[in-house]
Symmetry: C2
Subunit: 428 residues, 2 copies
Amino acid sequence: MAPPRDTSDTTSTERVREPIVSPYMPKYPDPMSNVSKFKIIESTLREGEQFANAFFSTEKKVEIAKALDEMGVDYLELTSPAASEQSYNDCKTISNLGLNAKILTHTRCHMDDAKLAIETGVDGVDVVIGTSSYLREFSHGKDMEYITSKAIEVITYIKEQGKEVRFSTEDSFRSDLVDLLSIYKAVDKIGVNRVGIADTVGCANPRQVYELVRTLRSVVNCDIECHFHNDTGCAIANAYAALEAGATHIDTSVLGIGERNGITPLGGLLARMYTADKAYVKNKYDLTKIRDVENIVADAVDVTVPFNNYITGYCAFTHKAGIHAKAILNNPSTYEILDPTDFNQSRYVSIGHRLTGWNAVKNRIEQLKLGLTDEDAKQVTQKIKELADIRPLSLENVDVLLRQYHSAKETSSHLSILQSVVNPDQLA
Amino acid sequence: MAPPRDTSDTTSTERVREPIVSPYMPKYPDPMSNVSKFKIIESTLREGEQFANAFFSTEKKVEIAKALDEMGVDYLELTSPAASEQSYNDCKTISNLGLNAKILTHTRCHMDDAKLAIETGVDGVDVVIGTSSYLREFSHGKDMEYITSKAIEVITYIKEQGKEVRFSTEDSFRSDLVDLLSIYKAVDKIGVNRVGIADTVGCANPRQVYELVRTLRSVVNCDIECHFHNDTGCAIANAYAALEAGATHIDTSVLGIGERNGITPLGGLLARMYTADKAYVKNKYDLTKIRDVENIVADAVDVTVPFNNYITGYCAFTHKAGIHAKAILNNPSTYEILDPTDFNQSRYVSIGHRLTGWNAVKNRIEQLKLGLTDEDAKQVTQKIKELADIRPLSLENVDVLLRQYHSAKETSSHLSILQSVVNPDQLA
């Protein structure tokens, strides 16, 4: 969905009625969709701390919190103050930083935890309890009546302290639908700010998510937050489907770090949402800082940014096949929906390999101002393919080849040029 | 959707009519869904060769082809024989290996390429042409009438040679819907084996995919293949939505390698489909070989398997938060939808950190046969949290702590035990 149209231009009423034209989105916007007005609850300092490698010192937490705040995320979610003494103190420290982002902490649905949370000065408390039959049997063993009465007690208390409160179930997609809707309806009635749906085990798929959120949207009036694990590769797509269905808040972490292989990654979600509404995403979040934030976190948890990471993976903007390279050089939109410059990244068109094409080679000839013809470009391309069948050529290798071809052409007859071009062993 | 039910057990007709019960799937199966009967077109040797780092020697291609064949993939797709001389020879070599997988090559919609492909002895040809207005303007500049007549000529020729033929558009999600359906209808009429939809730029989302495939399913009788890029994180979810809508074949590559950040990864797709129909996936594919195949490819293209990779990422089966660890120890299904042993992987419950819980610690006490009480476990857990606030403890550190607690208890009064436990500096 496109951003709300500027209706101040009333010179043409017909224009206002024009359908939104985007190759990625439905022609007519769905008023319940929030793909153009979502908020991010950044949980690197909570879910991310559950990542196997994560051990954040207070200083590191502060650094991460500030970096995320500068990027413009709406909320920061912190580990429960009940987890340990440092966790408690960190909630206090980060709440006192004076960030723009609201500070939340994530606690069990328990009065003791809620009281600790309030003491730390956070802006809100994200309360969670498991509702699936699996969790009720094997985790806390509590029934729905108990869960509901506990939820009401805890929510009422937190609201009385003037704080924002979210109530989330855990493992929502394996919970009984009627149980879920009943408890959400009950907590909505007493004024909870948000209800949360969590795919704790990473089993949900986008059409399921859409249906559940759409149903929930018709049951509650409060905001809807969603939390998706990525065990089966749907964490970003599920977040998108949830927003389409009317969810308002999405949980993320930097590089997706969290329990097991993690949750919806911040960068990946921004890539997805940029595709849906570039203006909203660019205006609200500082996309040029993604790489810095990822580097801070990758360093803190001692992982390498995946080679295929969204936006910042080292090949995210590399084009290789000849047909792609040709089109990209004519118009980057042909094979690129993310403009690398918006993310402070750059494009690279790779040409020294067997899949290369003469249009890509011609582009390089023009960059080097060598003034060769199309026929020349085709001949050199053939030579590059022959050499690259033996081993790939660096851009420097290709440039040597192009320059040699160029000088050979200046000094000798056209037909003998290719014989004079160096063999691959000389290119090393 | 669950696998076709075994109706040989006719002792109870009521049982046959029972809805399929799975927490992950719709209660009633959709007859058009193919989540329980899909095929994989493995394109590491075509799309994967378009990955920035990929340069495969013939020997490496043969090694990868054999490993994928052993895993049970249905098809192997190879780089066009028109790309270079080695590409041509590699098609011949791999076609002659006598693999169970059918061998395809991927060519432009052009008679010259089709003839070369047939010469190599492949089982089928995957023909592709761009149909989006972007590509028609900036890539090949051809109109739909030309594209259709070319497609019919090439398909007819390949079929006459007794080979399987697929016709795919490129950048299908930015193509005009009527153009798309018209050309698919035309090629279906002349007996193409499969039509292909390609999200060449990675812009599509699952609900769009579902709608397009469902529409196409009502237009053509042939199989439907889908190819999804992962620029915005939907490649796995889109594949799943396509199968739900009636697609029959999904393109994958090992670790998802391909242009830019790649396509639907083989391992990730298998994780997703396992969740939908474990029996089908386990019977058809050798899931224990995923890690080996990934290691071969990662090594060949000089990348590290991402820390958060599906199934094989080093933390995919690591559980950390106390509440998770407790439930996992009671019943792994609580927080795990993939059984690690099915993939020849193992589970790890991490306990030496500030998010730990006493049930997880108690489990370790039992593994060590130390015979401590619940009250003991709670006290040691408190100590672990204190120490882990300073720095995380290895499992060895935790074990030292538990054993010391145990001997202290045997030799001294209960109350003084915690004083005797080593301080963290001694744990190094």
